[in-house]
Amino acid sequence: MILPFYQALTEDVQALSAQVSAPAATALHDIRRKALERFTAIGLPSLKTEAWRYTNIQRYLKEFPYELLTTATPVSAAVAESKAIPELDCYRVVLVNGHLQADQSVLPEGKGITIGAMSAHTTAPGFAHFNQQPHLAGESLAQLNTALFADGLYIELAANTVLDKPIHIIHVYSATAHAFIQPRHLWVLNRSAAATIIESSVHPETATVAFANSVLETVVMENAELWHYNVQQGEESFREVHTTAAQQYKDSRYHHFNFTLPNTPFTRNNLSVALNGSHTETNLNGLYIANKHQHVDNHTFMDHIMPDCNSNELYKGVLLDDANGVFTGKILVHQEAQKTNAFQQNNNLLLGSKADINSQPQLEIYADDVKCSHGFTAGQFSEESMFYLRSRGIGEDAAKALMVNAFSHDITDAIKVPALQHHLQEQIAEIMNN
C-alpha cells in the first residue's frame, strides 16, 4: 500500500523513491541516493528552522492530499498560449510537469546551442555542473527535488554563443488529482555566452491543486551574461516552492528579476547566488504584489566568496488585503572577498488592513574593505499625492494604480525586454484596478 504523500515525506521517503523511474546514468543515481539520505537527515523545514521561521511549509504540504507526480499528460496548446506575452518575439519552450513538449515549442537552433530535456543530456559536458551549487545541500526541499525529480530543461550555450532572441519557458503543471510536481533544470552559459530567459507557469485545472517544488541551477561562466526573468502569476489552485541556485564566474553578469503577482496563495522563492570568480556583477530585482490571503516569501542569499564583486538587490512589495510578505536578504562576505560592494534594499507598501511584511536583512561580513548597505521601509501612500491625483479627476482606484506603478517603476524600468516590460506594467495596472 502506498503511504499518503505527506506521511511518506516524513516517515518513509524511500517509498516515494520507488515511484521514480530509475535514471539511466549511474552517476546521477548515486547523487539521487545521497540527496535522499540528506533529505531524511535534515527533514522537512519547520517553524524552528531558521530559514523558514515566517513560513509554515508543513501547513501547506498538508493542505491537500498530494500525490507525487512524475509524468506528463497531453495538454492542449491553448494552455501554454494563455501565458504568451503579447508582441514578444521569442523562442518558446513548453514543459508539462517538467517534461519538454517539442510539438508546442519553438527551440533556438544553431551552432553552440544545446537545449532539450534534462533526461536526454545527463552526459552533456555542462551536466558536470549538476547539483554543484553549494547552497543546495542545506535546503531539504532542494534535496528532495534532487532525489525525486523526473525531468526538466537543459540549456547549454557554448563559448561565445549569443542568443538572438529571448527564450520564453512556459511551465505547465497539469494533473487530474492533487499533485506534487518536481521539475529540475540546469542552464549553463559558457565563456562569453549571453542569453535572455523568461519563465512563466500555469496550472489550468481548478478542481485540483498542484504544488511545484522546482529547482533551477544556472551557471554563468567567465564573462557570460544572463538576463533571467521569472513571472509568477499563477492560479488559486497552484502552490510553489521555487529554488534558483546560481553560480557566477569571473567577469560574469547575472540579472535576476522575480515578479510575484496574484493569485497563487503560497509562493516561496529561494534565490541564491554563489560568486566563484572576481569582478562579477549581480542584480537581483524582485517585485511582489499580493492580494487576498497570499503568502509570498522571498528568501535570498548573496554569497560573496571572491573579491571585487558587485551585487545590487532591490525587492519591492505591494501587499493588499490580507496578504503576507516575507523577505530575507542574506549577504555573506567571506574573508577573501575584499572590495566587495553589496547593496540591498527592501521597500513595501502595506495597503491592506491586514497586510503584513516580515523583512530581515542578514549581513555577515568577514572582510574589512567592503561597502555594504541594506535598508527596509514599509508604508502607505502619501495622502498629499493621493489628493493631488484625485483633485485632477482621477478616481481612488486609478490613483492607487498610478501610485503602485510609480512605486514599482525602478524595477519595471530595469526590464530590458520592452514587450515584457509593457506586459507587466499592464498586469500591475489591471491588478490595482480590480
Binding site: 491625483l389 478616481g395 481612488e396 517603476h409
Partner: protein
C-alpha cells in the same frame, strides 16, 4: 455657478474658516487677497475636497449640486480645478500618463470615450504652447525635480488640458519671475471665456495687472471682510491690511 453660504471649517480641531459667503457667476474673475494664515488655501482645499478639513457649518453649491457631498475626483469631474500653492512631486508617475488618466477619467464621467492617442497628443501640443511648457518636461515624472516656476506652469498646463468651469489658482504667481508671470497670465487670459470662472488667490497686485479681476475680496481671519474692484488691490498693496482692520472695528462698534 458657485455659491458659498456661511462656510465654517476646521482642521485638527482648529477653526479656520468662520463664515465665508461668496457668489461666483459664469465668466467672472475673482481675486482673493489676505495676510498669511488668513485661510485662503484652506478655502481652496475645502472647495477641492481635501479630507483633513471638516466643514462644521454652511453650504457650497456648484451648478445646482451640493459640492460638499462629492468626492474630490467627482468635484474635478464636475468642473472644479485647483492649481496648488505647493504642487506635489510624484516620482515614477509620468506627467503624460498622469494627464491621460485624468483626462480620460473626466471624459468617462461625462460619458465620452477615451481620447485616441493621436488626439491626445494634438491636444497636448496645443496646450503646451499656451503656457510655453517644454515637451521634455512631459515625459518626466510628475513635478519631480521641477523648478518652482516649472511646477506652477505645469499647474496651468493641466488647467488648460482639463478645461474646467471653475479654476482656483492658489498663489500661482508666487515665485515666478516677470517673464514666467507674463506667460502664465497670458495663458490664463486665453482660457477666459463667458462660461468659465476663476478665483485667483494672490499676495501681489502685480498679477492683477495682467489678469484683470472683476472682484477683489479680502480674506482675514477666516472671513471675507471686504469686497471691491481692482482698485482695492492697489490700495492693499500700498497700505497693507491694518487700515482695513481698523475700518472693520469702527464699523463693528458703530
Amino acid at each position: 455657478m458657485l455659491t458659498i453660504k456661511n462656510l465654517h471649517a476646521e482642521v485638527e480641531g482648529k477653526k479656520i474658516l468662520k463664515g465665508i459667503n461668496l457668489e461666483i457667476n459664469k465668466g467672472e474673475m475673482h481675486a482673493i487677497m489676505g495676510p498669511n494664515g488668513s485661510g485662503k488655501s484652506s478655502l481652496a482645499s475645502v472647495l477641492a475636497g481635501r479630507d483633513n478639513y471638516t466643514v462644521t457649518e454652511g453650504e457650497v453649491w456648484f451648478n445646482g449640486k451640493n459640492l460638499l457631498d462629492l468626492a474630490p475626483e467627482d468635484r474635478a469631474r464636475e468642473g472644479v480645478f485647483l492649481a496648488f500653492q505647493y504642487p506635489v512631486e510624484i516620482p515614477g508617475v509620468s506627467n503624460l500618463n498622469f494627464l491621460k488618466t485624468a483626462l480620460n477619467e473626466i471624459r468617462a464621467y461625462k460619458g465620452l470615450p477615451a481620447l485616441e492617442a493621436r488626439e491626445f497628443l494634438k491636444l497636448t501640443k496645443e496646450k503646451q504652447q499656451l503656457v510655453d511648457f517644454h515637451s521634455n518636461l512631459m515625459n518626466r515624472s510628475l513635478n519631480e525635480g521641477f523648478s518652482g516656476g516649472e511646477k506652477k506652469r505645469n499647474e496651468i498646463f493641466q488647467l488648460a488640458m482639463l478645461d474646467p468651469q471653475l479654476a482656483i489658482l492658489d498663489e500661482t504667481d508666487s515665485g515666478l519671475d516677470i517673464d514666467a508671470l507674463r506667460i502664465v497670465s497670458n495663458g490664463v487670459n486665453k482660457l477666459r471665456d463667458a462660461e468659465k470662472s476663476f478665483v485667483v488667490i494672490t499676495h501681489y497686485q502685480r498679477l492683477l495687472e495682467y489678469i484683470i479681476p472683476d472682484f477683489v475680496h479680502v480674506l482675514y481671519n477666516g472671513r471675507i471682510i471686504k469686497t471691491g474692484t481692482k482698485e482695492l488691490a492697489l490700495e492693499l498693496e500700498e497700505r497693507g491690511y491694518d487700515w482695513l482692520k481698523e475700518e472693520l472695528h469702527l464699523k463693528e462698534s458703530v
